[in-house]
């Protein structure tokens, strides 16, 4: 315990870390060692002892993790003398899209369809009384209790996360650890447990990522949200293999 703010009378943890890592030159290291008190020496010993707790270096695991988040390609500005061509192409594309939309039959999507996006691989249930019943697309309020079913066929495990409108990622299954929640059986299987929602407002997206560990699933989901917001996340879930997502409107609603 160090009872007073550090006014330079003792080495900071950063200085001790730099000493332990060999970042200081001989003169700096010697000067710092002269300032070590008992607390600082204990901290240095703890740092050294932590070396024994480190897992073996695994370059390929690190490279996999580093590769899960890629930078969005920076837009390449069109040469100024070709700007008219870009405008023409955009106009033509808009006309084609407009024509295609005009030829479509009237939309018949019901609000409840939203609950079963992503090929039924993730289904949301809400607690009503003492039973979990299929969610029908209504807004879910503070303290609403939700459960989930996922499609287990062909999968060993699932990580179920939510992404709130601010982009905060929360992992619900597994409750702890880095291994995915194990899945057994075939077809739709319930995940044991439930989630009590908070007072979030806006669209919260629940995402099931199959056959990935927690860090990788979180990184992929975070990346998709960073690159495209909630809509981008839903698009990614629709397009990627082994991922399913459901967007839930939060705010005043079912509790």
């Amino acid at each position: 315990m160090m009872p007073t703010p550090n006014n330079g009378d003792r080495p900071s943890l950063l200085e001790l870390g730099r000493l332990a890592a060999g970042e200081l030159d001989d003169a700096q290291a010697s000067a710092l060692r002269d300032r070590l008190d008992a607390d600082s020496q204990r901290t240095l010993d703890e740092i050294e002892a932590a070396r024994g707790q480190m897992p073996a270096f695994d370059a390929s695991a690190l490279r996999r993790r580093a590769a899960t988040v890629v930078q969005a390609p920076s837009p390449t500005p069109a040469p100024a003398n070709r700007a008219w061509l870009g405008a023409f192409v955009a106009l033509a594309a808009a006309l084609l899209v407009g024509l295609a939309v005009a030829l479509q039959p009237p939309a018949t999507v019901e609000p409840t369809d939203i609950a079963f996006r992503s090929g039924n691989a993730l289904q949301v249930y809400v607690l009503q009384g003492r039973s979990l019943v299929p969610w029908e697309g209504q807004a879910l309020g503070d303290r609403a209790v939700v459960g989930f079913q996922v499609h287990a066929t062909g999968h060993d495990g699932v990580v179920l996360l939510s992404v709130d409108p601010s982009g905060a990622v929360t992992t619900f299954w597994p409750a702890e650890g880095e291994e995915a929640e194990p899945l057994a059986g075939a077809g739709m299987v319930p995940l044991k447990g439930s989630v009590t929602l908070d007072d979030q407002e806006g669209r919260e997206v629940f995402v099931a990522v199959f056959d990935h560990d927690v860090p990788l699933a979180e990184a992929k989901v975070r990346q998709a949200h960073e690159l495209g917001g909630t809509d981008g996340l839903l698009r990614w879930a629709d397009e990627a293999a082994g991922v399913a997502a459901v967007a839930v409107e939060r705010g005043e609603g079912l509790r």
Binding site: G8, L13, F57, A66, T170, T171
Partner: protein, 183 residues
């Protein structure tokens, strides 16, 4: 230019345990601290060019691991608070809740950090968890020393308001031992 496996191995040997020790002070959990180390190294790899320019790689690693650690705390809190069991409907084991007073105090301080902006968070973490002087903190976050002092005062004001009666007399000198006891 990408870091080679040999370079990475050397960096890991030199820095991983130092980072782990520091992240564990914030997260108070070995597993999460290991995860923070892995993520920090992943970010080093993604930003190899910037990393190579650092005169103190550890200082840079400290900075980039700070927000990751605090986000981990937020996620962990979400997992503990939001996930519940309704055995009568679907069964499942109970989720262990933190019980010790220190864990709760630690959580309250970290909760407060979650309500302030990134700059204040960084200032508070470097000052209290890393025991940096104001000069060191200023250098780490790229602010002047008076601005660091202002950000710290902002956080202390917030702590006084949020922690209520228990912290009426809260001052820098009284908050510090509390924070220290949490690490």
């Amino acid at each position: 230019m990408e870091l080679t496996d040999q370079e990475l191995a050397a960096l890991y040997e030199r820095y991983a345990h130092v980072l782990f020790h520091r992240c564990r002070r914030i997260l108070r959990n070995d597993e999460d601290a290991h995860d923070a180390v892995q993520e920090t190294f992943a970010r080093v790899m993604r930003n190899a060019a910037t990393f190579r320019q650092q005169s103190s790689p550890l200082t840079w690693m400290y900075s980039i691991s700070t927000n990751y650690c605090l986000n981990q705390v937020r996620n962990r809190k979400g997992r503990r608070q939001k996930r519940e069991d309704h055995k009568e409907e679907i069964g499942g084991p109970s989720v262990v809740q933190p019980t010790s007073e220190h864990t709760e105090d630690h959580a309250r301080i970290l909760e407060l950090l979650d309500t302030v902006d990134e700059e204040v968070r960084a200032v508070v973490v470097h000052t209290y968890f890393d025991d940096c002087t104001r000069q060191e903190t200023a250098k780490l976050v790229g602010l002047s020393v008076p601005t660091v002092r202002k950000r710290l005062n902002h956080f202390l004001d917030l702590a006084r308001r949020q922690l209520g009666a228990a912290a009426v007399a809260l001052t820098l000198a009284t908050l510090l031992p509390l924070l220290r006891s949490l690490t």
